[in-house]
Amino acid sequence: MSKDIYVFAEQRDGKLQKVGIELVGKARELADDLGEKVVVMLIGSDVKRNAEKLIKHGADKVIVVEDPMLKEYVTEPYTKAVTKIINENDPNIVLYGASAIGRDLAPRVASRVHTGLTADCTKLDIDEETKLLLMTRPAFGGNIMATIVCENFSPQMATVRPGVMKALPTDNSRTGEIEELKIEFVEADMNVKIRQVIMSDKKAVDITEAKILVSGGRGVGSPEKFEMLKNLAESLNGEISSSRVAVESGWVDHDRQVGQTGKTVRPDLYMACGISGAIQHVAGMEGSEFILAINKDENAPIFGVADLGIVGDINTILPKLTDEINRIKAEQD
């Protein structure tokens, strides 16, 4: 009988990725619903030191697979490791981050073990009657949502977009089991060769980590005017982000794009400036704690999701707002 919830904990250069910890949080909730355990697969080279952290964020057990071949992500060795763990343990559910790694690995594993896979889920629940995993995801560019089930195959597998689930706070009292699994890798497992690893040279800004985002869209109008948003973001110790239009117009780098084809963010404050609020954009930011929208068009759909909507011109409002925030902050110091 299949049991327990397994999470693939993504790491890069030995450092845990946030999405894995978020998934452990969600897995904890599902496992408590089912009366099962949370088991994390920690795969890489020199990664064991992260096992305790995963337990403190909600895992009951961590299976560690270490090998020099696993230093950088490569499809085949990782598929081999995950498949072996699944075949030996018969999990009920397996979760992966819907990242450039998870979305390469999970389909390959699903095909190898012959089971279903639901991509880019935004919601996971347990059906009260059937105890099946209900996997909800957007389709048609976010226009519709579908709830998918995998009844006749095991494990039930899903990828989940980074930033959608909430990580549990560190609980230092938690304890768990750490198992080191030895898997023999042969040269044939490395069926491609990495000639070179090129790190992104830009100072990587992860907008999914930001507590405050000042986001601009078509209404900003030019790259120069994005300076207004940068100034405001600076006054709030936040970051700037944008809609797809601003990225496609070359005003902002693509790693700052929020939405269906960009990132999912849930900051404490999301300020949508000159963003109309197309459904594809809203899909990526509606989980924000507080949404403030400023737009000239009174009928812009963004006002439908904004906690506070201001109908007005960002060109006059933003500079004044920035000055006012800076003045208040100066008084506080």
């Binding site: 389709a139 560019g141 000639r195």
Partner: protein
Amino acid sequence: MKIVVCIKQVPDTTEVRLDPKTNTLIRDGVPSIINPDDKAGVEAALQLKEKVEGSTVTVISMGPPQADVALREALAMGCDEGILVSDRAFGGADTWATSHTIAAALKKLEYDVIITGRQAIDGDTAQVGPQIAETLGLPQVSYAEAIDVEGDKLIVTRQYEDRKHIIEVATPCLITALSELAEPRYMSVRGIMDSYREKEVKLFTLEEIKDTVDMSDIGLKGSCTRVKQSFTKQAKGAGEKIVDGSVDEKVAAIIAKLQEKYII
């Protein structure tokens, strides 16, 4: 080099709108296009063909009979041959069944390189490419933003969120294309005429592939997953909206809210 590109005909989802009264999708008048990542794959294949003498590009699509239009467009761009994989028996497929159906058709062809788009804009799963690779037992390189040839090997630039891998892969292999891989060329008038007069789109029905696929792996019955329910998204409720007032008043309202939320 024998190159096969897998394409999907999709509704242009940026044109899809919701009917505000019924809250259902308005599909009427939404144009069908070649999925953008797939189209970049077609262009990349044509560029490879131009680099390696004696290459051919075959384009294949699984879908209803109308998908013929998408295949003709790829032929008009310069692909040599089209294959339409179409049969009622293939309908209702999830990514497991889809990848098995397409893999069964690919087994009927010769290939050194198979190129698929990373993901389709209607489903956004990014699963069919890797699942075809697994079914055919091929190495895969997904999220490709550049492809080059060196002897009998391909050199692929593979994109991640924070880095790139320059990957060397021997053929046969499968590559999934990002839309930034290549800017698709336009069809020429001559190309459009040739695509209907000189070039062929072969039809593969179940009859043509039944010896390369297990019936239990295709269509709705062969699918591992099932859509339990689909619905349009409930919009988050609107909050307070300030329409009138001076700029100063509006700024003051924002400040008050930011203070209330302890942001400043």
